[in-house]
Amino acid sequence: MFDFAIAGVQAPFFLLVLVGLTVGIVGGFIGVGGGYMVTPALIVFGFPGYMASGIDMTHICGKGLVSTVRHRQLGNIDWTLALSMIAGTMLGVELGIRLLVYFKNLGISGVVLLMTSVALMFTLFLYTQFETRRAHKKMAEMEKAGEKLGRELQTSNLPKFFQTIPLAPIIRCRAARVIVSMWVIVLVGMVTGVLAGFLGVGGGFVRVPALVYVVGASTHIAVGTDLVEIVISGAYGALRHSIEGNVDMMAVLFMIAGAMFGAQVGSIATSYVRGPAIRYILSYSLILATLGAALRLTYVLTGQSVEWLSLTAVVLTLGEMIFLCLFISSLVWFAVRRRGGKWVPDWVAPLVI
C-alpha cells in the first residue's frame, strides 16, 4: 500500500504501474490515450473522479510523448496532416466543452455522456469490424493466390469521396500519401475535437478511424499522427488540471513508470503487423469499452441500486486491458514465429509481416 497524500488515498502502487504498462502498450499500438480505460480504473482503486481525470490526463501527455518519439523513428507520423489538424482539434475541443457545460446546466450531463459514448463506440465498432473483416478476407485470398501483400489494405470507398472535394487549398501529405483539401482535415479535427471535449477524453478512438476512413491515411500513419494530437491536447489538459489541483504527481509517476515501457512495446509492435490487425484491436477495444459504458449507464438508470452491474463493469474494465495486451503480444509472437518459418494459424498469416 502507498499513501497518496494529495489524493487522500491509499492504494497498491504496483496496480498503478500495471495500469500504466497495459494502457501504454494498447495506446502505443492503436494510437489512443486510453482515457476511457484509465479514469474508470483509477476510480475503482478509490481515487476521486476529478483526481482520476487529472492523473489520467497528465500521464497521457507523458506517455503520448514517448509513443510519438518512437513512432517518429518508425516513420509513422505525417507532420503536414498533424499540423493541419491541430487548428480544427483545438476549436472542436472548446466547442465540445461548451456543449458539456450546456448539458451540465440542464442536470443531465452524466446520462447524455454515457448514451453518446455507447452509441458512438458501438457504431464505430460495427463499421471497423465490417470493413476490417472485408480487408482481412481479401488479404487472405491474395495470399492464397501467391500475390505480394502490402502493409495496408482497406476496402472503404469513403476516402475516395473526400479526396475528390475540390476546395482550395489542396495539400499533399507525403508520409500518408494523400492529396486532399485542407478543409477536410480541419473538419475531421473539429468534429473529433468536439467529441473529445464533450466526452472528456483524448479522442484517439474517434480520430484514428476518421483518419483512416475519411482522410484515407494508412492505419500506421493514423496511429502516429493521432499521437501528436494527443500530446498537444494532453499537455493543455495536464496544465489545466494541475492549476485546479486535480493531479497527484506520485500517482502520475508510478503510472508513467509502467507507461514508458509499455508505450515503447506498443509502438514497436506496430512494425510486426499490417493495418487491418491494428484496426481489429481498435475494434475489440471499442466493443469492450461499449459494454463497460452500457453497464455503467444501466447502473445509473436503475438508481445505482443493482450492485452486480457495478461489479461487472469493474471486472470488464480490468479484463479489457488484460485482453488487449494479450492479443497484441500474441500477434507479435505469431509474427516472430512466422518470420522463423514456423507454423501459425491461417487467420494470422495475412495480419502479420
Partner: protein, 35 residues
C-alpha cells in the same frame, strides 16, 4: 480445443475468458470491499 487457436473467433473467446478470469481474481484479491 483446436477451434480456439485455428479460428479467430475461437481465439478471441479464449483470450477473453483468460482476461476476465484474471480480472475477477484481481478484484477478489485486492479490490473487493474497497470499491
Amino acid at each position: 480445443m483446436k477451434w480456439f487457436i485455428n479460428s479467430m473467433l475461437g481465439y478471441w473467446v479464449l483470450l477473453l475468458v483468460i482476461s476476465l478470469g484474471a480480472a475477477a481474481i484481481i478484484y477478489e484479491v485486492w479490490l473487493k470491499g474497497r470499491v
